[in-house]
């Protein structure tokens, strides 16, 4: 039983990384119609930047939690302004290919600079060790990562549901043309939304840094699972991205614990089952053909 609780916590912590990243993927897809293949690479950059900030500038975890998302926002803005923007009018496949190519560039650049062996990163002081709850020992950092992800997801949820910006983002996500026809300059929101989505991937990377091997390749498996998250949650559904993120984290953790041989496929079995029952995902809206 105590093991089960530990696996659950690990799953929820990992789920938090998926949820934050999938949230970013969902807002970008919603407003721009772009499937950002480089999201895994941006998650990796978030983790690498945390490690580099610590090693080269002695900037610790707490500062990185703020600084890295800001840097990644800037990176996203540049990426949208310089590249993504020019392909928005074309078939969405073009931006998918662009971001796929960018992924290769980012990953190889990180390999060139920092090698393939992985960068060290410690669990920040104060969040190390374990805490005993009854007879169960739980990782303090996993509890923190999990709670932090939930708080950020709720904050983004409030931003989307309670503010005018959120209202415009929801409207543009649902029907971009109609929203333009109602006098909203949707184009004005495209750049900040893209930056925001990338910043969320970077934030997930910072949170994951103390618990993962930080390598240039850490994003490549992550993005595959992230796409499964998005399909399970429903493409374009923001709530779906968050719920499916935590769900996939849990399923993955239980898979690793109880059926290690099948750990890699349980998520995709889950995805197949969801698609069989609800082709548009758990929270996806039914598309009218």
């Amino acid at each position: 039983m105590s093991e089960f609780i530990q696996y659950t916590l690990q799953g929820l912590a990992a789920g938090g990384f998926y949820a934050l990243s999938a949230l970013g993927l969902a807002v970008i897809f919603g407003v721009l119609g772009v499937v950002n293949f480089s999201h895994g690479a941006c998650y990796m950059l978030g983790a690498v930047l945390s490690a580099v900030l610590l090693a080269e500038l002695n900037v610790g975890f707490w500062a990185a939690l703020i600084i890295v998302p800001v840097l990644m926002f800037g990176f996203g803005v540049l990426m949208e302004r310089l590249l993504v923007r020019w392909l928005l009018e074309l078939d969405p496949l073009y931006n998918f290919l662009l971001t796929f190519g960018l992924t290769l560039v980012i990953v190889e650049a990180v390999k060139q600079r920092y090698g393939v062996s992985g960068l060290p990163y410690q669990v920040p002081a104060g969040l190390g060790g374990q805490v005993s709850v009854g007879s169960v020992n739980l990782s303090v950092y996993a509890i923190f990562a999990c709670l932090f992800s939930v708080v950020v997801c709720v904050a983004v949820g409030l931003l989307l549901t309670k503010t005018r910006i959120g209202m415009i983002v929801r409207a543009a996500t649902e029907a971009p043309d109609r929203t333009r026809a109602l006098g909203i300059n949707v184009g004005l929101w495209v750049t900040p939304v893209f930056g925001f989505g990338i910043a969320l991937a970077g934030l997930a990377g910072v949170l994951a840094a103390p618990t993962r091997a930080i390598t240039a390749e850490m994003g490549s498996n992550f993005i595959i699972i992230l796409f499964a998250v998005v399909v399970i949650g429903g493409l374009g559904s923001i709530l779906g991205a968050v719920v499916a993120g935590f769900l996939v984290g849990l399923v993955e953790a239980y898979g690793i614990a109880y059926a290690p041989t099948y750990a890699q496929i349980v998520i995709f079995v889950l995805m197949a089952l969801v698609v069989l029952v609800r082709p548009s995902g758990l929270f996806g809206r039914e598309e009218v053909a």
Binding site: M167, I168, R170, A171, T173, E174, A175, D177, R178, T179, R180, A181, L182, G183, I184, N185, V186, G187, R285
Partner: protein
């Protein structure tokens, strides 16, 4: 990007209800034109859907586009709104060319679009649906006025927009552009699929806004309904204007037109 709004009409007091009054024999009235479409052709890829269409709408005037499915009516509205860009010819609003303006700039210049699917957001509440567009003109209805005129929208203000009935969604779509203060409304089949009592209510709303000097371009297949609200009618067939009639002629030939439309 300019935010200029129309300055042609700013009548405060409602004009008398003219719906039942006979119209002059010449279909086109003398008032200054608000919307002027001339020589408009439109394509979807290789397929030409509009050919050399010229129409106009004056402030306070209700003009219909009547025609069968596929005659190009919706494409004409979408071209005016700036959502369909594969066009030739000119579209002007209050004399200024719209060609270079995006859909959102056109909306801020006073064009209000009520699409045939009502265009209500599922992810926005009824109140948010109303508050989403910017207010573009001083004559815009206040939220209080909207709620007074459409009490059901007030009752359901916190519901998701698409939880309303079809008729209520139509009210919401119209209320939304009124709150925006649009000076020219593009209404795409507002009566479609609605109960007669609701169609009647939509007619009342159209007459109310007409009285405020708002121009209305109405796509309609319901000939009987069109004749109760409109001043003039353009008949579209295969992407061309084949007739241009005042409301009296339109009424006199209603039977013939119904046959023509295949209804």
């Amino acid at each position: 990007m300019s935010d200029d709004t129309t300055a042609t009409t700013t009548t405060e007091q409602p004009a008398p209800d003219r719906a039942g009054a006979p119209e002059p024999a010449s279909p086109r009235r003398g008032a200054a034109r608000m919307l002027e479409v001339s020589g408009l052709s439109a394509w979807y890829g290789e397929a030409r859907v509009l050919t050399d269409v010229s129409i106009d709408v004056a402030p306070g005037e209700v003009v219909t586009l009547v025609g069968r499915n596929g005659a190009g009516k919706t494409t004409l509205l979408r071209s005016v709104m700036g959502l369909h860009r594969q066009i030739e010819g000119s579209i002007t609003l209050d004399g200024s060319d719209l060609a270079k303006r995006s859909a959102d700039a056109r909306a801020r210049a006073g064009i209000g679009w009520v699409p045939d699917d009502r265009g209500i957001y599922a992810s926005l509440t009824v109140a948010e649906n109303l508050l989403l567009p910017p207010v573009v003109h001083a004559d815009a209805w206040s939220l209080e006025r909207v709620y007074e005129f459409f009490p059901v929208l007030h009752e359901r203000r916190d519901f998701p927009g698409t939880k309303l009935s079809g008729g209520e969604q139509q009210m919401l779509a119209m209320a939304r552009v009124l709150r925006m203060g649009s000076r020219l409304l593009l209404l795409d089949e507002p009566s479609e699929g609605l109960a007669p009592v609701i169609v009647q209510r939509i007619g009342e709303i159209i007459r109310e806004i007409k009285g405020q000097g708002v121009g209305v371009l109405l796509v309609e297949q319901n000939v009987a309904f069109a004749s109760t609200v409109a001043d003039r009618h353009y008949l579209l067939a295969q992407g061309k204007v084949v007739e241009h009639l005042g409301n009296d002629d339109f009424r006199a030939r209603e039977g013939e037109l119904l046959t023509y439309l295949g209804m």
